[in-house]
């Protein structure tokens, strides 16, 4: 609930949900290896909304893929409530930047997909799909195909598809990057509203610092290649917030200054390569 933000101590007292213990990830690269993530040490408490910012190529997406179990760390381990993560699980769902919705299914069939894989009964699937489509305001589009929807609507289908599995942890990879400002605003509000009722733990990757400050209880700044946690900011602003709030802008400014240094590094590295 929103109370966790007003009383940071209460949040601190909550159980540890996710723990990354000295996690590194290397990818083979021609002759050698590229280190995408180095020595990530991270704890996320249950019900916390954590945003991760960093320059492109800093391994933000890799981090979420690791937690989702779609990828394995080269070193270190990832724990979810005392169990080591070794593969995908319905307790945590990743919303991809590209969404990965299935164009051969209708909106409702997309939302039902995860539940079908969990072998829930037809009736329960339909009820839940209907419920979550209502939550994201897409009730009238349940029989539509994806190409009939706008970008923001597709985004909400992906959200409903993830929520319908009722995961404890939502992992979101730059989900709103491709949307116009108005739609994004709206989805921020919706996401905040859903989060405050479901008490899910959310890890949200973005390159937009304001968005991170608008949504997060905590913002992590990742450095450029290899990705390390450079800095961590707790955001004690009251909710609901808005992206145009002065406090949001001021808090973001400070983080942005540090991010810019990292972006400069990444740009210089890119030029150097050429």
């Amino acid at each position: 609930m929103a109370a966790t933000i007003e009383l940071p101590l209460a949040a601190a007292a909550r159980e540890r949900k996710i723990w990354l213990n000295r996690v590194s990830r290397e990818f083979p690269n021609g002759s050698g290896k590229t280190r995408a993530l180095q020595n990530i040490e991270l704890e996320v408490r249950a019900g916390e909304f954590v945003c991760i910012v960093g320059p492109s190529g800093c391994g933000k997406s890799t981090l979420l893929h690791l937690i989702a179990g779609l990828d394995q760390p080269s070193e270190g381990e990832i724990w979810l409530e005392g169990r080591r993560i070794e593969g995908p699980g319905s307790d945590r769902i990743l919303i991809f930047q590209e969404l990965g919705l299935f164009p051969w299914l209708t909106v409702r069939q997309n939302v039902e997909f995860g539940m079908r894989m969990k072998k829930l009964s037809r009736r329960e699937r339909q009820e839940r799909a209907r419920h979550y489509l209502r939550v994201v305001h897409l009730s009238h589009f349940e029989d539509s195909y994806l190409h009939q929807l706008s970008g923001g609507m597709k985004q909400r289908v992906a959200l409903a598809r993830a929520l319908a599995i009722q995961p404890d942890v939502l992992l979101m990879d730059e989900p709103f990057a491709a949307l116009d400002a108005q739609t994004r605003d709206l989805l921020h509000d919706e996401l905040e509203r859903i989060w405050s009722t479901t008490e899910q733990t959310i890890l949200f990757v973005t390159h937009n610092v304001r968005e991170a400050v608008r949504l997060g209880d905590r913002v992590l700044l990742l450095s450029y290649g290899p990705g390390r946690i450079m800095n961590e900011f707790s955001i004690p602003l009251t909710r609901p917030r808005h992206i145009e709030d002065v406090e949001v802008a001021l808090t973001a400014k400070n983080i942005l200054a540090q991010l810019r240094e990292e972006i400069d590094k990444s740009v210089r590295a890119a030029y150097h390569d050429e």
């Binding site: 893929h65 989702a68 779609l70 995908p88 699980g89 319905s90 769902i93 990743l94 991809f96 590209e98 969404l99 990965g100 919705l101 299935f102 164009p103 051969w104 299914l105 997909f113 995860g114 079908r116 894989m117 969990k118 195909y145 994806l146 190409h147 009939q148 598809r161 599995i165």
Partner: protein, 253 residues
């Protein structure tokens, strides 16, 4: 509607041109068919059941051969798509062999099976199976990675990931493979029938030649083209249209 009128006009003009050429008497009648003669041959052919039996026999061979091609082609495609060893070895061979015209299998087929149904089925299968398997392989390989990841993320794995994600994701490619496979099978079958197998449309063509009946020959060709047209518009176009509407691909086909 507009399209149908255009097509109607086109075919009327085509018939008119043909009739004009006939009336100019540029060639002797045993070399140049007439619309009326072809129509009469068609009518007679169906009236005495020669054509119906020919179509029936040919289509039966086609369905049997094509089904075998689909099953074995998809199976081989799966093997090539998911097994690197076979892809690197057998894959190359499949592509090379596929480039060979399927009639080239005929001598081998006759030596193995004699002048029999088995021989013609063998030629049909060899003519279309490989193109189906190549398309199946390409279809499965070209499934965007994101679908597989999304499927795993949502709890699908193994057979279920294949059945519910990878297979439907590659369906548009599979269907074009099946369409191409059908065309190859059809060509192989008629080529085979021309040469030795009794009762089919291919043999009716050869019979027309033996009797020096140009109108009869063209009438059988009309039947062959008509079958191709019907299969394309009522089976493949229908399926492709459905897929395109679902996926939101361009519908201007």
């Amino acid at each position: 509607m507009n399209k149908i009128i255009k097509q109607l006009i086109f075919y009327c003009v085509l018939l008119g041109l043909w009739q004009t050429l006939v009336m100019l008497k540029l060639w002797p009648p045993y070399v140049f068919p007439t619309p009326a003669g072809v129509f009469e041959s068609l009518r007679l052919g169906f009236a005495d059941h020669t054509f119906s039996i020919g179509v029936g026999v040919t289509m039966k061979r086609m369905l049997l051969g094509y089904s075998l091609s689909m099953i074995s082609g998809v199976g081989l495609g799966l093997l090539l798509a998911y097994n690197t060893f076979f892809e690197e070895t057998l894959g190359r061979l499949v592509v090379s062999v596929q480039s060979m015209p399927s009639v080239c299998w005929l001598p081998l087929a006759i030596l193995w099976f004699g002048l029999s149904e088995k021989a013609i089925l063998f030629v049909v299968v060899m003519g279309s199976m490989l193109s189906i398997s190549i398309n199946t392989e390409a279809g499965l390989r070209n499934v965007p990675r994101i679908y597989g990841m999304a499927g795993r993320n949502l709890g699908a794995s193994g057979t279920r990931l294949f059945l519910f994600v990878l297979l439907p994701a590659s369906l548009p490619n599979l269907v074009s493979g099946f369409k191409q496979g059908w065309a190859f099978a059809w060509r192989s079958l008629l080529a085979g029938e021309l040469i030795f197998v009794t009762l089919g449309l291919g043999q009716l063509l050869m019979l027309g030649r033996d009797l020096n009946d140009i109108n009869g020959v063209v009438a059988v060709m009309v039947v062959i083209v008509a079958i191709g047209f019907l299969v394309d518009s009522f089976i493949f176009r229908a399926i492709e249209g459905r897929l395109r509407r679902k996926w939101g691909l361009s519908t201007s086909v």
